[in-house]
Symmetry: C2
Subunit: 254 residues, 2 copies
DNA sequence: CCGAGGCTTCTGGTATACCATATACCATCG
DNA sequence: CGATGGTATATGGTATACCAGAAGCCTCGG
């Protein structure tokens, strides 16, 4: 039994060919990875994606590229202006705040579910994950450890979502996190948020250990809404409105 | 600056041509409307969509049809099996429950925001919307009024989401509601849910009028989670697992 | 020197042809 | 008669050609 599940060990036990991976999916993955990797908010100018150039670069025709673009556009990562170009989207401050608000709602529900249903072992794992971090060189969190913390931070939140057992919660928050990652570097350096964050996380873990769904949900919500409020106050580096020369502001006003 | 604001009333105040509406978007809208209209869960057999037939029927080539399919697939309305066909998705019970759970999380947050930020007039409008309904012929809700209530029900929930002022909340719940609509007919006839629902709604409105965010959020959440629990218990008419003839049944017979 | 108007080029949108494989049917062979 | 392997057809995936509109450039007239 090399690979579990519905696969009766036949004489020729070959790994199944991935007939499911299409060029579209590959292009989608590649583009999303590229967009995630680059720090969008560092660039001052708009970043345009050229279908033909990408097509040539990836070695496939424009068709799968376009379908990948269709996906990315629906997810809010790019915006295509007919006969103008395809541009990587930089969210406005308002949109960021809305994303964080939605995230707060989803994670609060996730925390509730974890408190109700998760296995003790999983919750213990959560604590270990945090302990492992702030047991580093004394308690100070300044300096280069911020980068490291940034990852641990995301990992913590993703862990709670995952432990909720609700696949849909995970799917919906995934893209939110990608957008968050792009601006976390900026927010985390302000207001000593890192230190506060750790305290909040520990309180959430304690509520989960007490199996207190109300408190866990409340703490998770308020923790994340705190970030929303922070961005609302100090997020002026973000766009305040959509691109000026918008082709059809019409649809937004309707 | 010939054209500063949203729309300076020019001598020729014509409605702008909708250069933004592509065949893809039109096909997407048409398909989504069609899928929404048909009662998916009534049909016993799988429903397949033929790209070429649709292409011919809508009078456009396959390309925009395919891009629309890409969108619908990402939204979870169809599933495309390479070289097999494109099928309308019927959600499993588990998926339905997850959707309702997410909906509960989002609407709970929406209710909180409404209690905090909405204008008094909007909340009053909400009450009027509900009063207008259950002020009908005496208080009984049985019989054909259920259909009417079903719409009022959705309208109530959508109103709260909209009044939250959070665009993203509205966008995310939109598709959830479409899936809900498909199974509401079945759930609403069971367990006298309609009558209970009205009571719950009124309590939510009262909490909003008191500007009590905690209570509004709690009531909204519990109301919707109640539906989730109901489906969990009595939703056995739904699929319990993914399609049996998965793309590669092959391996099972080996 | 400057602006209007047209030309060139670039870019996404669409149509169409072709490809590879899943499926059903069918001929063949034991 | 049943199993097996070939084959026609159907269907989604991909490549490519062409279209229309937008941006920039360039010329030409004032």
């Amino acid at each position: 039994m090399t690979e579990a599940g519905p696969r009766p060990s036949s004489p020729l036990d070959m790994p199944r060919l991935d007939t499911g991976s299409t060029f579209r999916d590959l292009a989608y993955a590649a583009l999303k990875r590229a967009i995630t990797a680059m720090d969008i908010y560092d660039h001052a100018h708009e970043i345009r994606l050229d279908e033909r150039r990408l097509s040539e670069g990836l070695g496939v025709s424009r068709t799968p590229i376009r379908e990948a673009m269709t996906l990315l556009e629906q997810e809010g990562f790019v915006r295509t202006l007919p006969r103008r170009g395809i541009y990587i989207v930089r969210k406005t401050k308002r949109e960021i705040v809305e994303m964080i608000t939605v995230w707060a709602a989803l994670e609060s529900m996730a925390a509730r579910l974890v408190a109700l249903n998760a296995a003790d072992g999983d919750i213990a794992e959560l604590r270990r994950l945090m302990d492992a971090f702030h047991d580093g060189p004394d308690g100070q969190t300044g300096g280069e450890r911020l980068e490291e913390y940034s990852d641990a931070n995301i990992a913590f939140h993703q862990a709670i979502i995952r432990m909720s057992g609700c696949t849909l919660l995970a799917e919906l928050t995934e893209n939110l996190f990608i957008h968050m990652r792009a601006i976390r570097k900026i927010t985390i350096h302000q207001d000593n948020r890192a230190a506060r964050s750790i305290v909040d996380h520990m309180r959430i873990i304690e509520a989960l250990e007490r199996r207190d769904p109300e408190e866990a949900a409340r703490l998770a919500r308020e923790h994340t809404l705190g970030l929303a409020a922070h961005v609302e106050r100090h997020g002026d580096f973000l766009h305040t409105a959509r691109d000026t020369n918008a082709p059809v502001t019409m649809t937004q006003t309707m």
